[in-house]
């Protein structure tokens, strides 16, 4: 049953159509800069202030940018839109706030949070997916799955040195070898380690559970939330097998290996 939400604050919710953010390419030694396309809804007071915030929870960082007022939007100069507190490859999330200055100063009049920017290095097909793929130095391993990166869960990190061309995530052999394990680790996390995650159907865990349920040919039914861990492991194992079968990963791998030979 859907929950009816009451908006007592009269705050306007900005949408992805109103705000689009793009980061500049990552260059060694220079933090990224962001550009923003901002279309504010009609009816907001012209003197209301507009702020954009970049943030992330871990490692914690936050930057705030003044974009003038609703009636007179003013983009800070490009150099002042450098994300100096985010010098590494981990992209931040963004918030946009429109705040009252006259009737009740500081009150939020319009708001949106957890905006993911477009990143030039990320392939367009990965921008709306349920698996976020990024690169950094992993100090040994070729890949690593990370659930600690708020707003980007789960993130498949690929080692920058192993994949300087950033093509590995599209390599059929890599997909065949790694993606089933990504699915297994993710479902383990959601179904066994932190079952509360799946209760948020709108969150990332809900999206992965829906994906798991949609995989055809799973041989055993999905266990109840309070089922034994052994039963959950069996179901996850069957989902992973069904996923690999449906995508014919064994054949995909064999063909790619033959082409490489």
């Amino acid at each position: 049953m859907s929950i009816r939400r009451l908006n007592y604050t009269k705050r306007r919710r900005l949408t992805l159509d109103d705000v689009q953010i793009e980061l500049s390419p990552l260059a060694a030694g220079t933090p990224r800069r962001f550009d923003i396309r901002l279309t504010l809804p009609p009816g907001l007071p012209p003197d209301a202030k507009v702020f954009v915030e970049a943030y992330r929870t871990h490692p914690p960082a936050r930057m705030r940018f003044n974009f003038g007022t609703v009636g007179r939007l003013e983009w800070p100069p490009a150099d002042e839109r450098r994300l100096s507190e985010f010098p590494d490859e981990l992209p931040p999330l963004f918030r946009v706030k429109v705040t009252d200055v006259s009737e009740r100063p500081g009150r939020l009049l319009a708001y949106v949070a957890r905006l993911r920017p477009q990143i030039p290095e990320v392939q367009p097909e990965n921008r709306r997916g349920i698996l976020h793929i990024h690169h950094k130095s992993l100090d040994g391993p070729i890949w690593q799955l990370d659930f600690s990166y708020s707003g980007y869960e789960p993130t498949l990190w690929i080692d920058s040195e192993a994949d300087p061309a950033r093509e590995l995530a599209r390599d059929p052999k890599f997909i065949a070898l790694v993606f089933p394990e990504v699915l297994r680790q993710t479902l383990n996390r959601i179904v066994i380690d932190e079952p509360d995650l799946a209760e948020d159907e709108e969150g990332w865990a809900g999206a992965w559970i829906r994906f798991a349920r949609s995989v055809p040919g799973t041989a055993v039914p999905e266990p109840a939330a309070d089922a034994e861990d052994e039963d959950k492991v069996v179901w996850i194992d069957e989902v992973v097998k069904a996923f690999a079968r449906e995508r014919k990963l064994a054949a995909v791998f064999a063909v790619a290996a033959e082409e490489d030979a």
Partner: protein, 251 residues
């Protein structure tokens, strides 16, 4: 002056093993040979040198680390650099896990000494990375975050636990300034009497609610205290009139 370093894999695992053994033998000496041995650690690049010293509280430590790296033209590594922060923990081990009068130490959970960035409910617990993270978030005015920086390194305290576990609160200049205004006595630099984890928990929940309605980063702290519910009255009064008025009322 000592050269700051970071562990290699072998150094990190030896330090982890030491922490396990320390729980069984509380007088076991820290493995200081791990700090310098080239098979166990490596120098930072660029080089950073520091004079080890005693830190009165988390604030003084964070300021020292920030100054040390800035003097070297660098930024301290973030908390995701497990090998650096674990090395620094061993470097300052007498301050993060001090020996008692009997010579024994009381090691707590491993995440306090070796960062665990993969778990949301552990990653803010490191005794050195956490105060530095908070200091860096509020580098334009770090005193506003004193509410989570006032305690000694080895005893972060309940207020710190409650506030640093709420990342939306600890990142926001307005809420941290308000929390420091309410819960820290500016004359002593120490938490006010009665400033408990329970109170901080209530404050955190309230700020999460307020953040849906107000742009908290730029609130006027003095004005905003007037909007707080009755159960904050004692701290508001102490903040406005000083702790003596608060104590007289309590008496």
């Amino acid at each position: 002056m000592r050269l700051l370093r970071r562990f290699r894999d072998a150094g990190l695992e030896e330090f982890r093993a030491y922490l396990v053994r320390l729980k069984e033998n509380r007088t076991l000496a820290p493995p200081e040979f791990l700090l310098e041995g080239p098979e166990f650690s490596e120098p930072l690049v660029p080089s950073v040198r520091a004079e080890p010293r005693s830190f009165e509280n988390r604030f003084v430590f964070a300021a020292w680390l920030d100054d040390t790296f800035r003097a070297a033209g660098a930024e301290a590594p973030r908390a995701t650099d497990v090998k650096f922060w674990s090395w620094l923990t061993l470097f300052l081990f007498d301050q993060v896990c001090p020996a008692g009068a009997d010579g024994g130490r009381k090691p707590r959970a491993e995440a306090r000494y070796i960062p665990d960035p993969t778990r949301w409910n552990r990653r803010y617990r490191h005794l050195l990375a956490n105060p530095y993270d908070v200091y860096r978030l509020h580098r334009d005015n770090p005193a506003r975050a004193m509410v989570v920086l006032a305690n000694p390194l080895h005893r972060p305290g309940e207020l710190t636990e409650q506030f640093t576990s709420r990342l939306e609160v600890v990142q926001c200049p307005g809420t941290m300034a308000l929390a420091t205004h309410l819960y820290i006595d500016p004359e002593t630099g120490r938490p006010r009497r009665g400033a408990s984890g329970k109170k901080a928990n209530r404050f955190g929940k309230l700020m999460n609610q307020y953040a849906r309605t107000w742009d908290l980063p730029e609130i006027n702290v003095t004005d905003f205290t007037r909007t707080l519910p009755r159960d904050f009255r004692r701290f508001v009064q102490a903040a406005v009139e000083g702790d003596q008025a608060d104590q007289a009322q309590a008496g």
